[in-house]
C-alpha cells in the first residue's frame, strides 16, 4: 500500500516532469545506438536557425555519407598496420539537433560510452545580418568525457563566419574538410575508445594522429597533451605485449614518448 507521503512524492516528481516538458525542446532519439560492439558516430542535422524556427541546411543522407567517406579515408591511412581494426558505424539521426552541451549530462555521456558511441556531431547556421552567416559545428567525444580524473573536456565547437548564405554543397564541404576539426576529434575519440578496449595497436596510431592534428590548434593544447600521454601508455602496453609491428624493439625511453618514436623511425 502506498503511504500518503509516497503518493505526494510521486505526484511531485510527475508534476515536475510534466511542468518542465513544455519548456524543454523535444530531443529526438537516434536509433541504432544500442547493441553490438561497433564504434558509433552519430551524425545529427545541420540546420539554418531563423527567427521563425529552424530547417535542415542539407540532406542528412548526403551529410552522413560524406562524413563516413571522409573519416573512413583517414582511418584507413592511420591504421594500415593494424590487423583487425574495430568497425565504425555512422548513424544518421533524423530530426535530431541538440540545443546545447547542457543536454549532455554525465549519466547520458556514460550511457553513450557504455554503448560504444564515440562521437556525435551537429551544426547550426545563424544569420548575422545581410547575407553573412556564422556556422557552428559541435562535437561530443564520449570516451574522452567519460575518462576518469583528470577529465579533459570532450565537448568542442568550431565556428566559422561566412560572407554569404552557404549552399548545401558548401555546408557539406566545410563540414567534412580534411583540414577541419572533424578528423582530429574523430581520431582522438576512436583512439581513446580503442585504448579503453585494450586494443593497443589501434589506439597508439590513432592517438598519435590526433596529437599531430591537435598540435596545430592552440586552443586545444590540453586535448593534444592528453592524446600524447595516452598514446605513450598504449605504446608501453604494445612493448610489453611484443606485437608484430616492431614496438617491442623500442627502448623504455622511446615508449615514454611513443608518438615521437613512431613518427621519426
Amino acid at each position: 500500500m502506498l503511504t500518503m507521503r509516497s503518493r505526494f512524492a510521486i505526484c511531485g516528481v510527475m508534476a515536475t516532469v510534466f511542468a518542465a516538458a513544455p519548456f524543454c525542446t523535444a530531443q529526438t532519439q537516434c536509433s541504432g545506438v544500442s547493441g553490438g560492439t561497433n564504434y558509433k558516430v552519430l551524425v545529427d542535422e545541420v540546420e539554418f536557425a531563423t527567427a521563425t524556427g529552424s530547417h535542415p541546411a542539407l540532406s542528412l543522407e548526403l551529410l552522413q555519407s560524406s562524413v563516413e567517406g571522409a573519416l573512413e579515408k583517414v582511418r584507413r591511412v592511420v591504421l594500415t598496420r593494424t590487423v583487425s581494426p574495430a568497425s565504425v558505424v555512422y548513424l544518421p539521426c533524423t530530426g535530431r539537433h541538440p540545443q546545447g552541451v547542457s543536454e549532455f549530462t554525465d549519466t547520458y555521456v556514460r550511457t553513450m560510452s557504455a554503448n560504444h558511441a564515440i562521437l556525435e556531431l551537429w551544426g547550426t547556421l545563424f544569420p548575422l545580418g545581410g547575407d553573412q552567416h556564422t556556422f557552428d559545428i559541435h562535437y561530443v567525444m564520449f570516451p574522452v568525457s567519460s575518462v576518469t580524473a583528470p577529465p579533459p573536456s570532450g565537448i568542442a565547437t568550431t565556428q566559422k563566419t561566412m560572407a554569404s548564405k552557404p549552399t548545401p554543397l558548401q555546408v557539406k564541404d566545410y563540414f567534412v574538410d580534411a583540414r577541419s576539426d572533424l578528423p582530429a576529434y574523430f581520431t582522438l575519440a576512436a583512439g581513446v575508445q580503442a585504448y579503453s578496449d585494450h586494443k593497443w595497436d589501434e589506439a597508439a596510431p590513432l592517438l598519435c594522429e590526433a596529437r599531430t592534428r591537435l598540435k596545430r590548434k592552440p586552443e586545444q593544447q590540453d586535448l593534444m597533451k592528453f592524446a600524447d600521454q595516452l598514446a605513450s601508455k598504449a605504446g608501453a602496453e604494445l612493448r610489453k605485449s611484443g606485437d608484430p609491428a616492431g614496438t617491442s624493439l623500442m627502448s623504455e625511453a622511446q615508449a615514454q614518448d611513443y608518438c615521437t618514436f613512431a613518427t621519426t623511425r
Binding site: 502506498l2 509516497s6 512524492a9 510521486i10 516528481v13 510527475m14 516532469v17 510534466f18 518542465a20 516538458a21 524543454c24 523535444a26 530531443q27 529526438t28 532519439q29 537516434c30 536509433s31 541504432g32 545506438v33 544500442s34 547493441g35 553490438g36 560492439t37 543536454e103 549519466t107 547520458y108 556514460r110 550511457t111 553513450m112 560510452s113 557504455a114 554503448n115 560504444h116 558511441a117 570516451p143 567519460s146 576518469t148 575508445q193 579503453s196 578496449d197 585494450h198
Partner: protein, 266 residues
Amino acid sequence: MADPPNSAVIGSRPVAESLAVEPSKETSSTGGAPKESPAGFDAALELSAIYDRVRKLEIGAKESKDHWYSSQLFSSVLSGVILAAFGFFLTGRLEQAAKERELNIQSAKDMQELLVKISTGSRDEAEAAAVSLTTYGPYSIPPLIENLQYGPERALAAERGLQALALTDAGDLCSNLGTVLENRTQRYTAASHTAVIRILGAADCKGQPQIQILRAYADFIKRADASGPGLIQYQQTVRDATASNVTQAKQELTNTFRLLHVDYAF
C-alpha cells in the same frame, strides 16, 4: 464421578440374582429368626443407588434439553447463517479477483501507450512516460527494466522511472534488479548491467541478497579486469561487452558500494 453403589453393582453379580439368592443362604445357615442380613442391606442400597442414578439421568436429560443452543431451530438457523456468510465471503473474493484481472488488462492497455512514448517520444516525453508508468507499481518494473537495453534516451528514461519506484515499491524493485544482475545467459547488455548497478545504489538496495549479488558481480568484474580469460568469460555471459565496459562497471560498483556503505576493494 465415583459412585460406590454403582461400582458395587458392576463388580458383583446381577442385581436380580443377588436379591433372589442371598436371603435363602442366610436363613439356612443360622436356622433362627430371620434378621437383617448384610446381603439384604446391600441390595436396598444398591436399589436406591440405581434409582438415584436413573433420576439423575432423567434430570440431566431434561436440563440438557433446556439449552437454547441445542435446540433444533437454532442449529438450522445457525447452519443457514454460516452458509450465507461463506457464500458472501466467497462471492466477494471472486468479484475482487475478477475486478483485479479486469484492472490488470486495462492497466496493460494504458501501459502500452506509455511504453510507446518511451520508445518513440522525445527525451522529455520518454521521461514523463516512464515516471507516469510507475503509478502501476510493481507491474511497471519489468517493462522499465527491458527499456534499459535500448538507446540512451530510452534507457535513461527507464532509469529515472525505476529510481522513482524506490519510493513506493523498493522491495520488488531491488529484487528484480538483483535478478537482472545475476543473469549469466547474455540476456542483458553490458550497458544495462551498468545502469542496474547505478540504480541499486540510488534506490538504496541494501538488503542482504542484493549486497551478496553486488559482491559476486564485483568479483566477476575483478576477474575480467585481471586477465584475458576473465574478460572472455565476462563477454560470454554479458552481451555486447568489451574491456571498456569492465572499466565502467568497476567505476559504477565503486560508487554504489560507497552509497550503500559496503566495504569492497578492487
